[in-house]
Symmetry: C2
Subunit: 433 residues, 2 copies
C-alpha cells in the first residue's frame, strides 16, 4: 500500500491530547503498516502554549487561535479532547458543517448535543466518532456498532464509573465511605470535587450514549434516573456480601417492546455474575442480545493513554472508511418511548426495619403479596429489640415494590427503614443465573 | 445512502450456514440501514440438498456443484462455514485467487493454512476475514486489529474452549470428570468424540490465531505446547479452591522481547482475576498491552447463531471497507522467534508428595533454592503417613521449576507425586494483583 500523509488537528492538548500525540509519534509505523496512512498532529488548540506538556509537540503545532484549526482546510480530521460542552460543541459543529470528520472523547457533549451534531455530520458527509467518550479503551461502541450488527441488544448493564467502583471495592474491604473516597483522591481515581462521579451524573451520560447506540434511538440525558453512592454505608456493602452478592453502582438500560428504561444506581450483583468481580477503578459493560446471549467487555475505564488509544482507533477507522458509507454516522434510526420508571421489572433487595415481635412477618408478607411482590429469600437479623429484614424478591415492577414499601412505612411496627435496591443475577444462558 | 444489492455465496449450509441465512433474512433491514448494503444468500454449496435445514433457503439456492459458487463471478463475497481443512482450503484459495473476498469460521484452516491464504488474498486484492474462527461472537479479532491498533499487546490469556470450561466448572461443583463430560455431552456442549476439546487441540488452534494477530508474527500450530484436562482429577480442582484459586484450561501467549511462547494447559487462576469467574460454556480472552493495561472480552464461545453473528459482522466489514485499504489482510508483519519452552517465567503451583518426617521440608526447600525457585505460599496436608505439599512459587522460568522437580523426584523421601501448574494472579493495574 502507498502511504498517505494525514495531518490531524487537536482541540485541546492536556493529558489525553498529549497521549494522542505521543502514541501517534511512537506507533506511527504500526498504524501505517496496518492502514497505509501516516497520521501526525499538525495543529493543536490550547489556552496556554507555555504550559509544560507530558509529550512536547513539534514547534509551531500549538496555537491559541481557534481559527488555526477550524479554518485550516488541510485538517480533514480533528480530535476533540478539550472537554466541556462549550466552546467544544461550537467547534465540533463548525468542523462537521465544513465537512471535516471529528473524533471526540467528550461524553457530556455526545450525550447532550449528539442529535444536533450527528445531523450536521449527516448533511455534510463528515464522520463523527465517539468511542473514547465511554469507558476509554474498552471498544464497546465499536462492538455494538460493527461486531453486533445483527444482534438485537435488549439490555446493557455496566459498571461505567471507575471512581465509585473503586470506592465500593474499598468499602467491601472494610473501609468507610469517607476513607475510601480520600484514598481514591490520593491515587488520582477521584477528582478533588468528586460530585459528578459520586452522584451518578458521569455514569448517566455514559449509559445515555450506550443506550442510544444499543437501541438505535436517542436517549436524552434527562431520561436517566440517576442515584449515586453518597447514601451507601458499610452495612449495605456487608448485607450484600452476606447474601453472596456485591454492591455496585450499576448503569442499566433496558429495551422492552418499544419502550426504554435507563437508570443508574446502587444494585446488588450476584457473585457469579461477571460484573460482580469488576474491582477497583475498572469498568465493564455487559450486552445482552438475541444472537449473542451476552458479551461482557472489561478494562480500565479512564486514563490519558487509554482514552488516547480509543481516540486513535476512531481516527484510524475514519481514515479507513471515508467515502465507503460503511456506517451511517448517527446510530439513531428510530424513536422509542421512555418507559414509565415504575414499570421496570427486576428482582429487588428490600431492607426493612421493624419491631421484633410475633405477627410482624405476616403483616409484611401481606403488604408485599398485596402488590404481587413474591419473596425468594429472607434473612432476619436482630437489632436492639428490633429486627432488620433482608428480603430478596422475585422479579416485580419497581412501582409495585414502591407501593408495597409505602404501605409498610404506614405499619405501626415499622421502625424507620424500608428501602429497595435492584438485584442482578440473571445471565443470558441456560443453566447460568 | 443508496442501497446496494450484495449476493453472498455460502460454502456449507449446516448449523452455522443456516443461522447466517436466517440472520441475513431477518436483520437485512438493520444491516442496510447501517451500511447501505442489502446482503442476501444467493448460492450455497451443500452435500445433500434434501436434508432438512433449520432455516430453509430460497428455492434454487442450494447446489452440490462447487463450481456454482466458485465460478460465479457475481458472488464477490463468500462465507466458508463447511469446516475441515480440505476441501475447504482449496475452495477458499480458489476464491481468493480470483479476487473474491472470503469470511471463514474455520479455525483449523486459518491456523494451518493462514500464511498461504493471506498471501493469495494479498496478491489478488481480496479480503480474508476470520473473526468467527475464534470464540464465536466475541469480537476479539476486531478488537485486536482495529480498536487496539496503537497498543503493543504483549500477552493474551484465554479460556477459549467451552467444553473443557464446562467440565471444569462442573467438577468445581463436585462432579467427577466422567460425570461432567457426560453432562456436557447431554447438553450439547461436547461432541460424542470430545478428543479435540479435552486434549487442548481446539484451544491450541485458537491461541495460535490470537497470538498471530496480537503479535503480528505467524505462530504455527506446532509451536503451541498443548496439554488437555484428561489428567485433571477432583483433588486438583479442590486444591486450587483451597488456595483461593480456580483450575482452568488456560491458553496463553506471551511476547518477551522478540520471542513468543504459546501454550495451552491447566492453570490455577486467582479468584480476583477476571478469568476465574468465567463459568460453564463461556469463553473469555484477556489482552494485556501498553496503552490499555488489560481488556477482557467474555461471552459464549460457540453456538450456531453466535458464530453466524461473527460471520455477518465480517461480511459487513468487507462490504464497508472494500477498496479503501483499511486493513492489510494478513495480520502478520514481522517474524518473531519461538521462545524455548523452559524460558517462560510464571508463578507456579507445585504439588509434592513426600514422607511426613523431620527434615523433608528443608530438603525440598534446598532443591527449589538450588534452582532459584522461591516459595510464596506453602500448605502442608497430611496424607496417610505421607505429606502432600501445595507450594505456590514466585515467578520462575519453567525450565528451572522442571529441574527442581527432577531433583525432588530423586530424593529418597519422594512419594510419587511432583507436578507443576502455572498460576495466574497478576493484573495489569497498580494495586491489583
Amino acid at each position: 500500500m502507498q502511504s498517505v500523509d494525514v495531518p490531524v488537528g487537536l482541540l485541546g492538548y492536556g493529558t489525553v491530547g498529549a497521549a494522542v500525540a505521543r502514541l501517534l509519534a511512537e506507533q506511527g509505523d504500526e498504524i501505517e503498516r496496518a492502514t497505509g496512512h501516516r497520521l501526525r498532529i499538525a495543529r493543536a488548540l490550547v489556552r496556554d502554549p507555555a504550559k509544560e506538556r507530558s509529550f512536547e509537540p513539534e514547534p509551531g503545532v500549538l496555537t491559541t487561535e481557534p481559527g488555526d484549526v477550524l479554518d485550516d482546510p488541510s485538517l480533514r480530521l480533528v480530535a476533540e479532547v478539550m472537554g466541556g460542552v462549550e466552546p467544544a460543541g461550537s467547534y465540533v459543529g463548525a468542523l462537521l458543517a465544513s465537512g471535516r470528520s471529528v473524533v471526540t472523547a467528550n461524553k457530556q457533549l455526545v450525550a447532550r448535543r449528539g442529535a444536533e451534531l450527528f445531523a450536521t455530520a449527516a448533511s455534510s458527509g463528515a464522520q463523527l466518532r465517539f468511542e473514547a467518550s465511554v469507558c476509554a479503551a474498552i471498544p464497546v461502541i465499536k462492538a455494538l456498532r460493527e461486531a453486533l450488527v445483527v444482534t438485537n441488544v435488549h439490555r446493557v448493564l455496566g459498571i461505567v464509573n471507575g471512581t465509585t467502583n473503586f470506592i465500593l471495592s474499598a468499602m467491601d474491604e472494610g473501609r468507610s465511605y469517607d476513607d475510601a473516597l480520600a484514598e481514591a483522591q490520593r491515587l488520582g481515581y477521584a477528582e478533588a470535587d468528586p460530585t459528578d462521579d459520586v452522584t451518578g451524573l458521569d455514569a448517566a451520560a455514559k449509559i445515555a450514549i450506550l443506550a442510544t447506540v444499543a437501541f438505535g434511538s436517542r436517549v436524552p440525558l434527562d431520561w436517566v434516573e440517576a442515584t449515586g453512592i453518597e447514601a451507601v454505608r458499610r452495612e449495605h456493602v456487608e448485607a450484600a456480601r452476606a447474601l453472596d452478592m456485591r454492591l455496585k453502582l450499576l448503569a442499566r438500560a433496558t429495551l422492552a417492546g418499544e419502550r426504554v428504561d435507563v437508570r443508574v444506581g446502587p444494585a446488588l450483583v450476584d457473585v457469579h455474575h461477571p460484573l460482580a468481580t469488576v474491582e477497583g477503578p475498572f469498568n465493564a459493560v455487559m450486552l445482552q442480545g438475541d444472537a449473542i446471549r451476552e458479551i461482557t467487555l472489561e478494562g480500565p475505564g479512564a486514563g490519558g493513554v487509554e482514552t488516547a488509544s480509543a481516540v486513535i482507533a476512531d481516527l484510524v477507522s475514519i481514515v479507513g472508511t471515508t467515502g465507503t458509507g460503511f456506517l451511517q454516522n448517527d446510530p439513531v434510526w428510530r424513536e422509542l418511548e421512555r418507559m414509565p420508571p415504575g414499570d421496570l421489572a427486576s428482582p429487588w433487595y428490600l431492607r426493612l426495619r421493624v419491631d421484633d415481635r410475633a405477627g410482624v412477618l405476616a403483616r409484611l408478607a401481606h403488604e408485599l403479596a398485596a402488590e404481587d411482590v413474591s419473596v425468594a429469600r429472607l434473612v432476619q437479623q436482630p437489632a436492639d429489640g428490633e429486627a432488620l429484614l433482608h428480603v430478596v424478591t422475585h422479579e416485580a415492577p419497581a412501582g409495585r415494590v414502591e407501593a408495597a414499601l409505602a404501605s409498610i412505612r404506614g405499619l405501626p411496627e415499622w421502625r424507620g427503614e424500608a428501602s429497595a435496591l435492584p438485584v442482578v443475577s440473571e445471565r443470558g444462558v441456560d443453566g447460568f443465573r
